[in-house]
């Protein structure tokens, strides 16, 4: 996986971690409040590890995470969407986990041993996110509201993966391949998220201490 793809992975995990953390305190039930908070924490941990890998020992992972302009992020539009509606939130979680599993599985066999080793570690943690997503998917798969949310987000889900990995996603999700909402362009929802996410960092350019 090249550097741009790894940066895409880190940005996906950072931004989705941010979005999932928006449920902290307001999820429809306490168990999901705990689950989304924990999943978000793991995702941001994965993002940090990949930024550290990309930055190298002398580099600054925080600078990579927070000092770019919103248009320079490589995240997929799927993770940017501000979806404070439960059916769409669960549909995104499930679609993202299916796509991410395909991507992480491929990365585990990468010739870059540091990236492959990190992918193996991430994969162990993601197993629990997949269980959570699958549990919800099994419960809601026949509900029209959930089906509609999945179909609406499907072009975005395809955009998480590079072309060569999409056929597996198509097979696993069971929907026909359509034109993907590709990585590179951003939704309008990224800029406000970026404003909030980088606010502390920008307020203390010399480095915040606490």
């Amino acid at each position: 996986m090249n550097e741009q793809a790894l940066l895409g992975l880190a940005d996906d995990e950072l931004v989705l971690g941010w979005r999932d953390s928006e449920w902290t305190g307001i999820a429809p039930m306490l168990e999901e409040d705990v689950a989304f908070s924990s999943i978000a924490q793991n995702e941001i941990g994965h993002a940090r590890a990949v930024y550290e890998l990309l930055a190298g020992e002398e580099g600054d992972a925080d600078a990579l995470a927070f000092d770019r302009r919103p248009e320079d992020y490589r995240c997929a539009p799927l993770v940017e969407l501000h979806l404070l509606e439960w059916a769409h939130t669960i549909a995104r979680r499930w679609l993202y986990e299916v796509a991410d599993e395909i991507r992480i599985t491929a990365l585990k066999d990468d010739s870059d041993t540091a990236a492959a080793g990190l992918a193996a570690k991430i994969d162990r943690e993601e197993a629990y996110h997949r269980m959570h997503a699958e549990m919800w998917h099994e419960g809601l798969r026949d509900e029209p509201r959930f089906r509609e949310a999945v179909e609406e987000l499907w072009p975005y889900a395809l955009g998480v993966l590079p072309g060569e990995l999409r056929s597996e996603l198509v097979a696993r999700v069971g929907l026909a391949e359509v034109e993907a909402v590709e990585r590179g362009a951003h939704t309008e929802e990224l800029a406000p998220l970026w404003e909030e996410m980088t606010m502390v960092r920008r307020s203390a350019p010399a480095g915040a201490q606490w």
Binding site: A35, N42, G45, E52, G117, I122, Y128
Partner: protein, 157 residues
């Protein structure tokens, strides 16, 4: 000059920041200690990548062993299987059910829902999964139907 055994002894005195009944050595997160010409190199593996205790653990090691270099290894070399038998006993005594052994394939939801996890209070396996997630990334929540006590179950990683 400091010897590797002294470094291990010092590390045994550093408690886990979130579960202070176990030390970093009990948790199995110290992969290696190398001492060469007075320079101490500690290789350390995080439990979960998003664990906020990671920085605290690194700092505690650097304070306990002045001059030591702590290298964080971010690969799959840590598993909950590396928690020592002493560490597992201490966890159980503190009300945390130790993790099940790691298997070749990732754990599945049906396994977590099975009646094989033992309550750390009464020892019954008549327990049910309440939540895959818990107060920290490394724990799930279970409920013991025998002694009617909720408890925290370490996830297998």
């Amino acid at each position: 000059m400091v010897a590797a055994t002294q470094v291990w002894e010092a590390l045994e005195e550093i408690p886990d920041p979130e579960i202070p009944v176990v030390s970093l050595v009990d948790l199995g997160v110290i992969r290696s200690v190398d001492v060469e010409n007075g320079h101490v190199l500690i290789e350390f593996t995080p439990t979960f990548l998003g664990c906020p205790a990671l920085e605290a653990m690194k700092r505690a090691m650097e304070e306990k062993i002045p001059g030591a270099e702590v290298k964080v290894i971010q690969d799959d070399s840590w598993s909950t299987d590396r928690i020592t038998p002493a560490g597992r006993a201490k966890l159980r005594a503190a009300g945390f059910a130790p993790p099940a052994p790691r298997e070749a394939s990732a754990p599945k939801l049906v396994q977590l829902q099975a009646n094989v996890f033992r309550c750390p209070y009464c020892g019954s396996t008549n327990t049910r999964l309440e939540n895959i997630f818990g107060p920290t990334p490394c724990r799930s929540l279970r409920y013991c139907k025998n002694c009617r006590q909720p408890f925290e179950q370490f996830k297998t990683i």
